[in-house]
């Protein structure tokens, strides 16, 4: 979206009256043989840690990135600890045991992969650095103009400040998790044609988990070393209700290699091919194919220090009514309750800083 806005800004800013336009375009098809992609990280928080192996596909919406199944994945540190990760169903995802190896700041971690075809890949030894604490997290109300209209959308921009350590070469990545209590643990569609539905109440207290799964929010201290990194944007809280918005903000300390990698990935996904865009570059990570050094490997295995702070955003000061999401409908007499299952989208466990 940012890229689209940027396109508009550039086009409009240059020539206020000229109509620019974006059309779909079918490029000539080119392809290369599928290469291994590695994603995974070890942190200083309790595990389990996950490594995901996939293959590159042709650059098209119709192609599929295949999972790399049946590989042997070994995580080892420089203190002599090592653990072989177990493949999870349906394959391609490998995980450490609960209570298994845990990351410790100051140690170096290496990932070794042997594919079913016998090719061996290894990451560079990544140093796990502890993350400095977030000194302040805050939200500011802002009505955002809706692109190309005169209407505005209410919301709160969330920022954090952090004190950067004196040593240069600190790199950060930000992630956030939102928990929202919910009364409904299942939705039953009564009529597919009309869309009529009803909800089932949760048997226990239950929270819905919301994250940005494709955000790449990284920063470095190259411009502010030793000072406060201020107004680091985290996310925008939507005005979907007047209830307090519960947020956990995670500051991750990543290595220079990981920072460069994510920054380049972000650049590649936002590049609009314009005359003023940095030209695209090959984005290889920190893994090498040992059995065939000429074979490229993509992705990054990182060792990350993590600190977390909560933020409760008061949403009662916005003008107008909130954008209401789908209301829950509970029938009378009450239906039997539904179990709040622990998954990446929902949990019965009370969030750490939750206040009723």
């Amino acid at each position: 979206m940012k890229a689209l806005i940027r396109l508009w800004v550039v086009a409009w800013a240059l020539l206020a009256l000229v109509l620019s336009c974006i059309r779909e375009y079918q490029p000539a098809s080119v392809s290369t043989s599928p290469k291994l992609i590695v994603e995974g990280q070890v942190t200083d928080q309790p595990g389990p840690y996950t490594v995901r192996l996939t293959r590159t596909a042709d650059y098209s919406i119709r192609s599929i990135n295949l999972l790399e199944e049946g590989a042997t994945v070994i995580l080892a540190d420089d203190a002599g600890n090592r653990e072989t990760l177990l493949e999870q169903a349906p394959g391609g995802t490998y995980r450490t045991r609960p209570g298994g190896l845990q990351g410790v700041a100051g140690r170096r971690y290496t990932l070794t992969i042997t594919t079913r075809a016998g090719k061996q890949y290894q990451s560079s030894a990544e140093l796990l650095t502890a993350a400095p604490p977030i000194t302040r997290a805050y939200a500011e109300y802002r009505a955002e103009p809706l692109a190309l209209t005169r209407s505005e959308v209410s919301g709160w921009d969330v920022y954090i400040d952090t004190k950067d350590p004196e040593t240069p070469g600190n790199f950060y990545r930000y992630e956030w998790t939102n928990y929202q209590d919910t009364a409904s643990c299942a939705t039953i569609i009564d009529d597919v044609r009309t869309g009529a539905y009803h909800d089932l109440r949760c048997c226990t207290p239950c929270w819905e988990i919301n994250r940005c799964y494709n955000c790449l929010n990284v920063n470095s201290d190259v411009n502010i070393n030793g000072k406060t990194l201020s107004r680091q944007f985290i996310m925008r809280v939507p005005y979907t209700s007047r209830k307090t918005y519960y947020l956990e903000i995670e500051q991750q300390a990543i290595s220079k290699g990981a920072y460069d990698f994510w920054k380049r990935v972000r650049q590649l996904t936002q590049n609009v091919g314009g005359l003023f865009d940095a030209a695209p570059a090959v984005s290889d990570g920190n893994l090498r194919c040992i059995s065939d050094p000429a074979e490229p490997v993509f992705g990054y295995f990182s060792a990350t220090g993590v600190t977390v702070v909560p933020l409760l955003v008061n949403r009662r000061n916005a003008p107008g009514p909130p954008d209401v999401s789908r209301p829950a409908i509970f029938r009378v007499p009450p239906d039997p309750c539904a179990v709040c299952e622990n998954s990446i989208y929902r949990t019965p466990n009370r969030p750490r800083w939750w206040v009723d």
């Binding site: 508009w8 009256l17 620019s20 005359l275």
Partner: protein, 798 residues
Amino acid sequence: MRLLYVLSVLACLFTEAVAQPKNATAYSATGYVRDAKTGKPIQGVNIVVINVSKGYVTAKDGFYVVTMPAGNYVLKFTHVGYRPRYDTISLQKLLFREVFMEDDAKDLEEVVVTSETPDRNVRKVEIGVSQLSIRSIRRIPPLMGEVDVVRSLLLLPGVTTVGEGAPGFNVRGGSADQNLVLFDDAPVFNSSHLMGFFSVFNPDVVRDVTLNRGGVAAGYGGRASSVLDVKIKEPDAEKWSLNGGIGLISNRLGVEGPIIKKKLSFLAAARASFNDFLFKLAPANLRGTKANFYDLTTKIKFQPSEQHTITLTGYVSTDVFKLASDSLSGQEINASSTQFDYQTTNGVLRWNYFIGRQLNLATSVILSRYRANLSSPDSANAFDLRSGIWHRQIKTDLTYTPGDNHQWQAGLSAIDYLVQPNTRTPGPFSNVLPVDLAREQAYELAAYVQDEWKVNTAVSVLVGLRYSALLNRGPATVRTYLENGPREDETVSSAQTYEAGTVYHRSGGLEPRLSLRWSVGEGRSIKAGYSRLRQYIQQVTNTTAALPTSRWHLSDVYTKPQIADQWSLGYFRNTADNAIEASGEIYYKRIANAIDYRDGAELQLAEAVETQIVQGRGEAYGFEALLRKNKGRWTGFTAYTYARTFLTIDSPFPVERVNSGRAYPANYDKPHTLNALATYRPTAWFSLSLNFTYSTGRPITQPYARARINGVYVPIYVDRNQQRIPDYHRLDFSMTFEQNPLKKKRNQSSWVFSIYNVYARKNAYSIFYRLNPRSFSDAYKLSIFATAFPSLTYNFRF
């Protein structure tokens, strides 16, 4: 006083006539050629003795000498912008004749995009030189009503651009920073307003524009591809006048006239845009956008006598461009808006001393400063990133014309460069760290000599030799890198510091130049040229087009000077009394130490540029053909260019290679270009022009595969510049209504109506790759000017 001078000149001529007793029957006709309206001397008027095929050219002060055996002759005087004039003389003794030439604005027949006099393209020695008068530039349908010098160059063969609205232009396979752009002798480091849409030259003050793309004369140097020489007109020495125009983008106002009649005259012209109100009407997310520019050109001419002319040119150009985002800043700093300010300030003091009819000495002191500033206002993250170039030059050129067959020229030049790469200053409450990159300082010295030698009536050669050198001086710190690794911050083995003023590195060498013309018959000639050009200052960037804040960098220990060798050969043919011109030229060019960037380069704040750029070899070749009709109610031309440019960048270390060391097309490699311009002028007060342009799309890099990382589809690139955006074509149209110039009126005005992109083609500005689950397309095309765009401009002159 004047009479005395004329007498002394006559006396000189007598002495000369006496000194040549063997040629006793030869006499001279001599005098000045002047503008009929203003009385101003005209330099470079071609004088042809009809039926004898002998040619002469007037000197800087309009003086001419034609020496012939006694007899009756017809002299033909021609110059671009003036109506040709015939003069019948009976040469029995020394004749002194003052010749007045009339402006050709009233003529129905006109020369469009002309190379000076009608047969000059066949007769002149240089190859690959095009001159455009401002009148011909005005006939080209303008974009948004803005008459534009640089845009008009794009119609010439061999000149291309990377995109509509891109800053700069590319000449014969050279990058945009390989063009030396001179505005009355002062170099212009950024020739565009509004990030590239319009050029910085106010059309009201431009006299003519010359582009040297082939045989660059030895007097020019410092850039590897071409020289664009934009000349400001001389202020009117006879009467005061006011001129101006009102357009959609900018408004112009100029004044000129004599302070002391015929001695001291003055010219000032300003141009400014007021576009902010347009953005106020725009959608809310663009209301913070600002895009404004202005430029001011002044020229003072002082002519105390016929021998001395002193001119002082001043020029200021400023742009302010504010975007409501941090998208283009290239800085990893959180910002709600980004503002670009950039400014060119030039001053030229020039003294022309006409020592005698054989000797002329021109000396100039040139100051040129370019400053670019990038800033963000947010208090905690406020910063101000400044960069700049200071160019201080002194140069002198001596012309010696001992006779009809030789014209010698020699000169010296010294440039003092100061390049301030980037200095970042935090705001008062800002957490951003200050950065101050080391200044780069150097002297560029040059000396040259050249001779235009008429070997016989058929063959002329222009032979020149230039020596140039760059002396880098301290304060500086020069790194030494480990020999068995690539140049990176991590592979520095030691660093040597030099004190202020110490010359720590020298580079330089000879630059031979040669042009040859061989007339193979009436209106037919073959020309050949060779030139070597050295470039010591370059703009380093990893974007397709350079931003106004892109970094300039002097050659040094690690960045070797770019050296371009060019060979060209052409055939020129004029028929039907020069009404039809045809020409074809081929060229081959080799560039040593061509520059490109490494994968993932970060240039803006890099302490050592050599860790981000790579150098290799460039190769360019092409064919240019031109067919032109100069006379009649319909005039116009068609130009076709085939041009290729490849770069090869290899190194023992993979990170210093591009495309694994194989040759790849440069960003501006566009094989086919076809341009056509037709003008219909049925009456003196109305004209209509059509302009068509076609070119192959520029190269782009297409992803070969996709990875899914962190839930996002990431494109995987393998090699640079292997695909192209779709071909570009466009038709423009313009109509000019003028007052009938035959009815003498003091006040003149004209209306220009134009349509850009008549058939509303959605040309690709860029192609970008984005996988969107809601669409079945893998890529998108962005078009700007995607519709027919009309505009109206009003011009006046009192």
